[in-house]
């Protein structure tokens, strides 16, 4: 507070309270965590199943509609959960406003990009099957 601040106490306090939309992130984090319980168990099962297979068999496995749909759900829900989860970690540990905003933007960019690339790759394998040329 500088000497030139002529605002009233009420004027200074306004806008410093809750943003009134934090509950959204809270609900997203919990909702996605519930969805990730079965999805992660499926992911581990799928990883064991795909580990001994070669390229052709792995493609055939991901071409099965059930596997493609579950893989799309897995990456969609995971990257959402990660974005909201790491946002909390960043807000907890990075205090410098500029560094915090940069870290939050980087986190969102990585998560959206990871989601888009993974989803495109899954859909490509499911519909086209062969390698991209």
């Amino acid at each position: 507070m500088s000497k030139q601040d002529f605002r009233t106490a009420l004027g200074r306090a306004r806008g410093l309270g809750s943003a009134h939309h934090g509950v959204n992130a809270f609900i997203i984090e919990r909702g996605t965590s519930v969805a990730l319980v079965p999805l992660c168990l499926w992911a581990v099962y799928a990883a064991i199943k795909v580990a001994p297979l070669g390229y052709e068999s792995a493609v055939l496995l991901l071409r099965q509609p059930v596997n493609a749909i579950l893989a799309l759900l897995l990456v969609g829900v995971s990257f959402t959960h990660m974005r909201v989860g790491l946002k909390v970690v960043i807000e907890d540990y990075i205090e410098t406003p500029l560094a915090k905003i940069a870290a939050l933007m980087l986190n969102s960019a990585v998560c959206w990009l990871g989601w888009a690339v993974s989803s495109f790759a899954i859909l490509w394998v499911a519909f086209v099957g062969g390698p991209v040329h």
């Binding site: 965590s33 390229y55 990871g114």
Partner: protein, 139 residues
């Protein structure tokens, strides 16, 4: 008693928050730290999975190279760490969902569920790697 504002010392007679070095290590604290640490590890894990889908899209050469990397000694070490992380974070997540509903805060219960999360992570990971070994996924 000296007034904290007049002694000039930081903290004065006020109680200071305990520091890591003098703070008694307990299991609920480890459980909390591990939840966050495994969450961050799984962030890297999701990017590794994204890389796997991309390699599968790019073709046999890229896929072979990527799987070779994952199957190396370092790759296996990372994958085992991720297996521990996925199961720990899963159990800890369920524990926190119970906390969100107001259950499991009794010190005895909180301690027991924390130990349970660690035990589940280790046992489930060993079972999964045994199954992977049995089905020929570790060669």
């Amino acid at each position: 008693m000296a007034d904290a504002t007049t002694t000039g010392k930081v903290g004065g007679s006020k109680p200071l928050s305990p520091h890591m070095q003098i703070w008694r290590w307990h299991v609920t604290m480890a459980a909390s730290i591990f939840t966050r640490a495994t969450g961050i590890a799984l962030y890297a894990g999701a990017l590794i999975a994204a890389g796997w889908f991309t390699a599968l899209m790019l073709g046999p050469d890229a896929y072979g190279c990527y799987v070779g990397l994952l199957g190396s000694l370092l790759g296996k070490l990372v994958m085992f760490g991720l297996t521990i992380s996925i199961f720990y974070h899963l159990a800890a997540g369920l524990r926190h969902l119970a906390f969100d509903m107001g259950a499991g805060f009794q010190p005895r219960t909180a301690n027991m569920t924390a130990v349970g999360c660690f035990a589940f992570a280790v046992v489930a990971s060993l079972v999964v790697w045994f199954l992977a070994w049995q089905t020929g996924g570790l060669h």
